[in-house]
C-alpha cells in the first residue's frame, strides 16, 4: 500500500511541506483584517497570509531548509 511506513519515510520532505502548508495556511482561520497593533484589540490575529500567502511559502521554507 502507498502509505506503508517505508514510503512515508521516503517522502519526508513532502510531509514537511504538507505540514507547513496545513499549519500556516489552514486550520480554523479567524477571518478578518490583519491586526498589527496589539494595544487596543483583544485578539491578535497574526495575518500570516500577508507574507506567507500560499504554498509558495512552504516551498521557500522547504527549499531553503534542504540547502
Amino acid at each position: 500500500m502507498p502509505a506503508k511506513q517505508a514510503d512515508l519515510v521516503k517522502y519526508r520532505q513532502i510531509t514537511l511541506l504538507e505540514t507547513l502548508d496545513r499549519v500556516l495556511n489552514k486550520g480554523i482561520v479567524l477571518v478578518g483584517e490583519v491586526t498589527l497593533s496589539v494595544a487596543d484589540v483583544d485578539l491578535i490575529f497574526l495575518g500570516l497570509q500577508v507574507i506567507l500567502t500560499s504554498v509558495e511559502t512552504a516551498k521557500q521554507l522547504g527549499v531553503r531548509r534542504e540547502e
Binding site: 513532502i14 511541506l17 496545513r22 499549519v23 482561520v29 483583544d42 491578535i44 500570516l48 516551498k59
Partner: protein, 296 residues
C-alpha cells in the same frame, strides 16, 4: 497569576512566570492550538514558547487548547521578523503540529492555524461562546473522520515511452527518426516531441480525472489544491494531482487499498499516487469570524 485565569478555565500547572496584570503592560498572549470537546484529555506538553505548560480554556462544552506565550517573541512585530527565519518557523510549526497531533490521538480536535494568539482568556471564551454551535457541530462531524493528503506524480519520460509504444502516430514518427536522411530524421524528432508532449498532457489530464473520480467515491469530502512545483517536492516526477481528503475512519483501510490498486494499474504509465496522513482536519475545520471575537 490565578487572577489572570477566569474561573471557567482549567489550569493544570501554574505558568512559569507571572504576567503583568496591567493591560497596558501586556507581556503575554494566549496561543491557541485547537479546540477539543471539554471532556477530552489534553497532552502534558510544553507550548511553542518552549516552557509554558498547555492549558485548556473551557466554555460551552468546548476546550481551547492553549499556552501562554511571551509577546516579546510572539507579538505581531517580533513574529513578523521571525517569519523570515525559516529555522524558527520550522521549529515552531512542527511544535504546533506535534501538540495538535498528540491531542488528536485522544479526541477529535479542530486545529487552529499557526499564530492564533489572544490577549486574554476572556477573549478566547468569547470566541468559543459566539461560535459554539459551529464548533460543536464541527467536532461531532469530524469525530469519526480523518484527513489524508493525496498527491499524484507523473513520470513524463516513462509515460511518453509507454505512449510511443502504443500510439500508432507516435510509433511511426519514432521509427522515422532512425530511418530517414538526417534532415528528415530531425523533422521527425521535432514532430515527435511536439505530438508526444501534447499526447502526454492529454493522457495526464485523463489520469487525473480518473483518479479523482475513483478517490471521490471513497471520501466524504475533498479539497483540490494546486500541485507543487518540482523544486518544492524535490522529485523528478511532476506533481499533477494534489488533494486533501476527508475519509471516514472505517473507510481508511479501503481507501488506501484502493490507492494501491490504482498504483499497480497505472505503474506502466509512470503515474503514482502517494498518501500521507492521518492529518488533523486542517482543511475541514469550520471558519470562525474574527469580528465575533473582538473586544468591543
Amino acid at each position: 497569576m490565578e487572577g489572570n485565569i477566569p474561573s471557567g478555565a482549567v489550569q493544570p500547572n501554574p505558568p512559569p512566570f507571572t504576567p503583568h496584570s496591567s493591560p497596558s503592560a501586556q507581556v503575554v498572549g494566549w496561543y491557541l492550538y485547537g479546540i477539543l470537546p471539554s471532556s477530552a484529555p489534553f497532552p502534558p506538553l510544553v507550548g511553542v514558547d518552549g516552557r509554558s505548560a498547555l492549558v485548556v480554556i473551557v466554555e460551552e462544552g468546548l476546550a481551547a487548547l492553549a499556552s501562554i506565550v511571551p509577546l516579546e517573541e510572539f507579538g505581531a512585530e517580533p513574529l513578523r521578523r521571525h517569519l523570515e527565519d525559516p529555522q524558527w518557523m520550522e521549529e515552531k510549526v512542527r511544535h504546533h503540529e506535534r501538540i495538535v497531533e498528540t491531542a488528536m490521538a485522544e479526541a477529535p480536535i479542530l486545529p487552529m492555524r499557526f499564530g492564533t494568539i489572544f490577549l486574554s482568556p476572556e477573549g478566547v471564551k468569547r470566541m468559543l461562546q459566539e461560535n459554539a454551535a459551529k464548533l460543536q457541530e464541527g467536532l461531532v462531524y469530524l469525530e469519526d473522520k480523518e484527513e489524508w493528503g493525496v498527491k499524484g506524480f507523473s513520470d513524463r519520460r516513462r509515460l511518453q515511452e509507454f505512449m510511443v509504444g502504443k500510439d500508432p502516430d507516435l510509433c511511426r514518427l519514432s521509427e522515422d527518426q532512425g530511418l530517414q536522411s538526417p534532415g528528415r530524421a530531425f523533422l521527425a524528432r521535432k514532430r515527435l516531441e511536439e505530438l508526444a508532449s501534447a499526447k502526454v498532457e492529454a493522457r495526464e489530464a485523463e489520469l487525473v480525472r480518473s483518479a479523482e473520480d475513483v478517490i471521490s467515491r471513497k471520501v466524504v469530502d475533498l479539497v483540490r489544491k494546486p500541485p507543487l512545483p518540482r523544486q518544492a517536492t524535490g522529485r523528478r516526477q511532476e506533481m499533477i494531482l494534489h488533494l486533501a481528503c476527508l475519509v471516514t475512519k472505517d473507510q481508511v483501510k479501503g481507501f488506501l487499498a484502493m490507492l494501491t490498486r490504482w498504483n499497480s494499474a497505472y505503474k506502466a504509465e509512470g503515474f503514482e499516487l502517494l498518501a500521507t496522513g492521518p492529518w488533523p482536519p486542517y482543511h475541514f475545520a469550520p471558519t470562525v469570524e474574527r469580528d465575533a471575537c473582538e473586544a468591543s
